[in-house]
């Protein structure tokens, strides 16, 4: 009975994180973007500096009519938001936020492969949405999504493989157990490649070609309304949380910090994740959108060679140490 309770409790905690953290990132985006652009952002909902703006947004989305276009493929159209959102929930299960068994939803032996594999499945949601909408803009958006994923999956995998080589394990808690501070400068190129490729997979600016509103309305999500549209948005912000969490765990040492290692490890994890999430928002405000050819060129001629060079460096240093 205790085991069942333990599992249930872990699932509930991960689920609550899954619902709360993306909203926190979303609200931060509202406020940070506003202040960077010389505005105030939401100020009324909830009273204090508009803290309840996203709750109000959620209520609004839930009240809207759920429209399925007449020519759309009904079932695929309705299934797509779930396919886009659920993988991020599964990934969150495997990310350790502190040392020990108690601070991770589920220890997965091949953790890196699990998170990357499951994150790749989420893209299928966008493809399904784009095709099933029976709309040219949606189809174009889905095509761009697929092209972007195919280009950026490889550098992401290579960068993650470099960390796995350095640690000698593919389990996420195992990598953190082997972490030393000098891994950060050693793996910094891999970290940049991983983060940039992750941004591109999430279709965040400056890699938001597939949902570029001034060209193709909202890409694959053009036809969606109400709760289903909200689920796609939630998937984007859950994706930011997952990407920043993963970068923290793989490259920035997760729960390791300069002080307060005992009991306060999870604070370090959350702090590093929050700083990375801020960078994601910052990039959105400050960088113009990349064109499709620039996107592909960046992936194949810059990120892949950099990731390969990082793997070579990791191999050389690893052999030298041993």
């Amino acid at each position: 009975m205790n085991d069942v309770l333990d599992v249930a409790l872990r699932l509930v905690v991960v689920f609550v994180c899954f619902l709360v953290l993306p909203l926190v990132v979303g609200q931060t985006e509202h406020k940070v973007m506003a202040h960077m652009q010389g505005r105030l952002g939401p100020m009324y909902a909830g009273g204090f500096h508009g803290w309840a703006q996203l709750v109000a947004d959620g209520v609004k989305f839930a009240q809207k009519e759920d429209v399925v276009p007449k020519d759309a493929d009904r079932r695929v159209f309705q299934l797509a938001p779930a396919v886009a959102l659920l993988p991020y929930l599964l990934v969150l299960l495997a990310i350790p936020i502190g040392p020990g068994e108690g601070a991770v939803g589920q220890v997965v032996d091949a953790g890196i492969f699990f998170v990357l594999a499951v994150m790749g499945v989420g893209i299928l949601g966008s493809l399904m949405a784009g095709w099933a909408s029976a709309n040219k803009f949606s189809l174009l958006g889905a095509l761009r999504t697929a092209a972007q994923l195919l280009a950026y999956e490889l550098p992401m995998l290579l960068a993650a493989a470099s960390v796995a080589m350095a640690a000698g394990t593919v389990s996420l808690p195992g990598i953190l157990n082997g972490f030393h501070w000098w891994w950060v400068p050693w793996q910094i190129v891999g970290a940049l490649v991983f983060f940039v490729a992750g941004l591109a997979e999430l279709q965040r600016p400056p890699f938001d070609m597939p949902i570029a509103d001034s060209e193709i309305i909202f890409g694959a999500y053009t036809e969606y309304t109400g709760l289903r549209f909200a689920l796609f948005l939630l998937a984007e912000y859950a994706g930011i949380v997952v990407l920043c969490g993963l970068t923290t765990v793989l490259f920035l040492g997760g729960w390791h910090g300069p002080f307060g290692a005992d009991g306060l490890g999870w604070v370090w994890t959350l702090l590093k994740t929050a700083v990375l999430a801020f960078v994601v928002i910052w990039l959105r405000v400050s960088y113009p959108r990349l064109r499709e050819d620039q996107l592909q060129k960046l992936a194949w001629t810059t990120l892949v060679p950099l990731a390969l060079a990082q793997i070579a460096l990791t191999g050389i240093v690893k052999v030298a140490i041993n």
Binding site: D73, D109, A110, A117, G120, L124, L127, A134, L150, V170
Partner: protein
């Protein structure tokens, strides 16, 4: 191994009192088979690709049930995450319609059926013959963990592994040659 010893080994694992894992394995296998059949029989092109996702995912669950965790995640990563995305990308370029594609039948149905049945029969026969008396001990340490997999792959199976790498390299070079040729024709 003599027949008697073989019989003694299998006797401990009767077919009449299956464990929970065995039942789950069978059910997932049936679901995978069903999805695979739908993949080849559905008249809607994109639905075929989506059913393929279900079939490949079912296969990954089967690997998990056989304790081969690493293989399962690689299966999802490569097949569901990349191969199917590539397939869908190709289908979208062909303007695959919502609804039925009447012109998607090449008329090779009987030949395809014969080839599929022959391949299935050969595979089932070989696998059953090879692993009839092999049982996985689920209570012991995982036999398909990344550690074990890496050691087996790079100690006993390193030659096939390298041969496959050469094959993939050849395919890559071939793709480059094909794409370059087209450009010269156009100019």
């Amino acid at each position: 191994m003599t027949l008697a010893a073989e019989a003694a080994r299998t006797a401990a694992h009767g077919f009449l009192s299956p464990t929970g894992v065995e039942v789950a394995f069978l059910l997932v296998g049936l679901a995978t088979l069903g999805a695979a059949l739908l993949t080849v029989t559905t008249r809607q092109l994109v639905h075929a690709a989506l059913w393929l996702v279900v079939a490949l995912g079912g296969l990954a669950v089967e690997y998990l049930l056989l304790t081969a965790e690493f293989i399962a995640w690689v299966q999802v990563l490569i097949y569901v995450g990349s191969v199917v995305v590539l397939l869908l990308f190709g289908l979208m370029l062909t303007k695959a319609p919502v609804g039925r594609s009447p012109d998607a039948d090449s008329g090779n149905r009987p030949v395809a059926l014969a080839v599929a049945l022959a391949a299935a029969a050969a595979l089932v026969w070989v696998v059953v013959d090879a692993f009839r008396t092999t049982w996985i001990d689920l209570d012991g340490p995982a036999q398909g963990s990344t550690d074990v997999m890496g050691q087996i792959l790079f100690q006993h199976w390193v030659l096939p592994f390298e041969a496959l790498s050469v094959l993939l390299l050849a395919a890559l070079v071939g793709a480059i040659v094909l794409s370059r040729k087209k450009k010269e024709d156009e100019s």
